[in-house]
Symmetry: C2
Subunit: 455 residues, 2 copies
Amino acid sequence: MADDVLDQLAAVLPPGALVVDRDVVDAYRRDRADTVRPGWPLALVRATCTDDVQQVLRLASEHRIPVVPRGAGSGLSGGATATEGCLLLSLDALRDIEIDGPAMLAVVGAGVLNGDLKRAAREHGLWYPPDPSSFEFCSIGGNLATNAGGLCCVKYGVTTDYVLGCDVVLADGTLLRLGGRTIKDVAGYDLKRLFVGSEGTLGVITRATVRLRPAPAPFSTMVATFADVESAGRAVSAIVAAWRPAGLELMDRTTVRAVEAFKPRGLDVDAGATLLAQCDAGAASVDEMAAIEAICQGEGATYVAVTDDPDEGEMFMQARREAFPAFFDRGTTLIEDVGVPIPRIAELVGGVERIAEQHRTTIATVGHAGDGNLHPLITFDPKDADAVVRAEAAFAAVVELALSLGGTLTGEHGVGTVKAPFLAAQLGPEVLEVTRRIKDALDPLGILNPGKMFG
Amino acid sequence: MADDVLDQLAAVLPPGALVVDRDVVDAYRRDRADTVRPGWPLALVRATCTDDVQQVLRLASEHRIPVVPRGAGSGLSGGATATEGCLLLSLDALRDIEIDGPAMLAVVGAGVLNGDLKRAAREHGLWYPPDPSSFEFCSIGGNLATNAGGLCCVKYGVTTDYVLGCDVVLADGTLLRLGGRTIKDVAGYDLKRLFVGSEGTLGVITRATVRLRPAPAPFSTMVATFADVESAGRAVSAIVAAWRPAGLELMDRTTVRAVEAFKPRGLDVDAGATLLAQCDAGAASVDEMAAIEAICQGEGATYVAVTDDPDEGEMFMQARREAFPAFFDRGTTLIEDVGVPIPRIAELVGGVERIAEQHRTTIATVGHAGDGNLHPLITFDPKDADAVVRAEAAFAAVVELALSLGGTLTGEHGVGTVKAPFLAAQLGPEVLEVTRRIKDALDPLGILNPGKMFG
């Protein structure tokens, strides 16, 4: 049967789109979730257009073959990992970018990198705000599939807030064109926002229409250090209650030490916690930043410095963005993405420290403190079987802690493979049952990214 | 059977919740869509808690009786109009407000008025941005059901952007608790945003958890007049391309004349178009407002004035908010809610003027120009049969025009009854088919608000 399908695919796809060469296929089998073991797909398809995607899904439905869609493979949860015998459907070649300046929007192929969209918008004096740390190497299709967040979300919101429309191919090959070029549109159900964040389990997003905003004023940037995470957490709560920083990031001591070892930038490796804040309010930034500084000092900051030099500020934010790569060099990592209500941040971070001790494993905590969305990173030696067990137990304990604080197991990375075993605990049986009804309504054969999200 | 159901309802509901008195019921049968004729419900239920809603839906499912949910009845599309023989389920008594200041959110019953939520938030130094013109008399439940917009959306987004979670009762009485108190949460499908905007056809929202923001800086307000709508439309495009006003409203001459006749405030009744802009950027507002003024002057504004007095500014915005009431006094109105891509605003308004002439009817145009969302208001004498026919033809022609410009038939009011006949033309058969699959998955007996949205 497999040969039959491959022949049929070869007949309907353009030359080069169907790839069976194991070396090439191998390069597409994983995302950045270290611990997830990929299977071998039947074949890789590098779609060149929406029609290719429709052809693949039609044949996949006919033969009931699982399809695993993927963008740039920068995901951190194993949502795009190949499963055994699947058709691995890469959207990375869909790179069209149309900027419609007067309408303040862009229409982009799913494979367009977030950073390329930002640059194209900038040429029109416009801005695409969502900014995952991976913006230089993650795709818009993947951003939509996971409803990706980033650093500026604290002021500007997440991916779904920018999606005006998208083209989605359903499991049976039907093309849906959702939304359009209007800013506000409530005609019918908000289907586009149902597909956003569905991690390829309801349909394959091939193109997105996203809202652009005027370019922001230059950023000014604060670095503040604290003796402990608790006082930094209190500063975060006080800042977001009164001000609207365009970024508010937290790094604990373990994180700062790792990023300084990775690339030294003069951050204080002895501080218990480091906060980075950015303001982009133009003439009002001066007042805003002064108030944020005063709040940090009031909460006992051991050091506070502000720079209005955008390049210097960007250097600090870049240090923050390199927190994950800094650990990727040091063994295998399990990356958490928990979120809690803002006042519970200190409890979360304190609890994570206790979990690290208890399970004798290293956990660094970094993340979007202003949104209560933090990334405890568990690093371990994959060849040490006992360390693996302890790391996995710590991972589960952190998820459990976040849920016990009224939080979520994923704020922006998605459930994927890594967090699938825990989803039911968060959603509960009623929500899970409705979720399944919707999945069954849209993908009755269950061929779309099976095993992801629901496990 | 009807008596049987009423007996069963009386047995499970608290005293006073079940209402059959025709005078009382009559007061609940309509929303503000003048032209929709309500039916007589079997009974009105004024739910006192989520459990009452579950009881009603369980019995309604058992007996296959349609349920029409309603909030404050301020809707403009006939989405909450009673249908013959339905159970009319009012959420207006669900008025609990909890402000969680440290977590920057509120948990409110569906019946809470938008204005009451705003005031409660303000006591904590916080702000709930979404601001339909009806904010003093519309409910949060209705705001969620329609994904309501408002004046500040141009900067701050619409209702769905503020929903962190909601409690929804399904057709069979099952209670879903969606989302929670975290700002970012991508665990599972974004079901809360599927229920937002579903106009009571997928479930009944009984409670919402909404995000609050820090109170904005005081607003400064500009009034600018133009000889014609085209030049005002060009000014709007130029303003939103470079600046982020917190409001950008357009009134045509017919609208200004009506609001001045309703309550004089000194607006220029001879100007072809009037723009209102608000800035809330604190110290940066001065630059922003100066730039917006300069843009208006560059586009040939005949008059531009700016006030930093919040009360004076509010007076102008209030004039804008009274545009609908100003026409309600003058006969029956058909209220459009079309949206177009921003550069098509002038074409839309010009086209609406031609439609008014062609169909010999009065159409005033007012709305959220900064979002491309405008409300042509068709006023006519309901006792003049020919005028009714012409008004209805004009209504359809405006919808058709908006769709031909790549727009939508509803930007924020919802489809309801009034626009149901046109939905298929906008969505197309594929999207409609998926919509029905989701409707069938969640409301298999079709008891939730039948006849609304889909006709």
